[in-house]
Structure formats: structure tokens, C-alpha cells
Symmetry: C2
DNA sequence: TGGCAATATACGTGATCGCGTATAAGCATG
DNA sequence: CATGCTTATACGCGATCACGTATATTGCCA
């Protein structure tokens, strides 16, 4: 299961939340590792669209995760449309 | 080669630029698909850390790409350190 | 059920977003 | 070269970031 797909911010947030819990960290603990407030981690995990890229990358880094970009696999409905 | 790893904003930007060119799109063309200005696409591809997550996801979507989050493979040097 | 840790949300602040618009700098191809 | 297309950068603007700090809400387990 160690490979999770994210096509929007919410999915990404959910993945991060799972990973953080698996690492047995609180939002505060993760935040202090990467110099971000607990509140900011909360927003990231909530999937708010306007969080900054640096916030995401820092969290990934602290959780020892990496990002892979690849062509969409099966294209399961809801394309660009559901972004608006 | 259809699977590229990004551990920071710059790598991510570079991947997006390659993908866009491969799709034979200009920044302006991509931007208009996702309702973002050419200048914003430029910042994204430049790897500026403060662009928003929504900008990234929209671009991925328009390029028919998806994001995969997974444990870091080989851990090739430069960890959290190079974020600061 | 009570109490504590964890998470979500709030306020004011300075910085920076993406916007529209515009232009400068880079590049190719003729 | 020169011309046109592409990309980078600039201005002012309203919105929203992450910040520090603080509190409300939630969840869990004794």
C-alpha cells in the first residue's frame, strides 16, 4: 500500500495525515521539525488549496516521503471539471 | 522514463516544464486551460516555493498527470537540511 | 463521565499570492 | 540580422498566506 495517488489537494492532505500518524507524530511535533506551526500543518492536511508548495515539500521531507509525477493511470471520471 | 521524482519545488517545476513541452503547449496555452496566467505558470515551473497547491494540482490535471506519494527510495544525500 | 492531549479555528501583522495589464528579455527561424 | 513567438518580470490591487499567540473543539481513555 506504500504508494498513494493524489489528484487533488484533499487527497494529498489525507495521504499526509495517514503518513504522519503512521510515523506516530502529532501535528505539533511534525510542525516543529519543519518550522511550521501546528495550525499550518492542520491546513495542509485539511486539503486547503492555497497552502504553499514549500509547506507540502517540507512535510514530505520530514516524513521521509517523495513525490512521483506520472501520467494518469486509469482516468476515473472527474477530470479538470471538478476543480471549478 | 514516464516516472519522475521530485523532492523539492525546483525538481517539481522542472518536471512540469518537461511535461508541458512534451504536450506541445506554451505557458500561455496551459494557463488558459486552467485559468491561470502565463506569469503564474512561469513561477510554478521556476520552482518558486510559495506558489499554491491549487496551482500545482491544476497544472497536473491539465497535463493529465497524477501525483504519487511514497517512501523515499534511496535517500540520496541532501535531506531536510537543504531546505534551510 | 472527567480530564488531558490533539486538532481546528481565531485575531492582528507583514509578506506574498494570483489577478489584469504591460513590457523586457530570450530564442528561433527565415 | 530582424521579426515574431515565448518566457520572465514589473506595477498596483484585493485576497490570503504563515506567523505568534490564544482559544474552542474534538477525541480518547482512565
Amino acid at each position: 500500500m506504500t504508494e498513494q495517488i493524489a489528484r487533488n489537494e484533499k487527497q494529498l492532505g489525507a495521504i499526509l495525515r495517514r503518513a504522519r500518524r503512521q510515523a506516530d507524530l502529532t501535528q505539533g511535533a511534525l510542525g516543529s521539525r519543519i518550522h511550521l506551526r501546528q495550525a499550518t500543518v492542520s491546513r495542509l492536511e485539511a486539503g486547503e488549496p492555497a497552502v504553499q508548495l514549500s509547506t507540502l515539500m517540507a512535510a514530505l521531507s520530514a516524513l521521509d516521503l517523495e513525490l512521483v509525477v506520472r501520467p494518469r493511470s486509469k482516468s476515473s471520471a472527474t477530470e479538470i471539471a471538478d476543480l471549478f
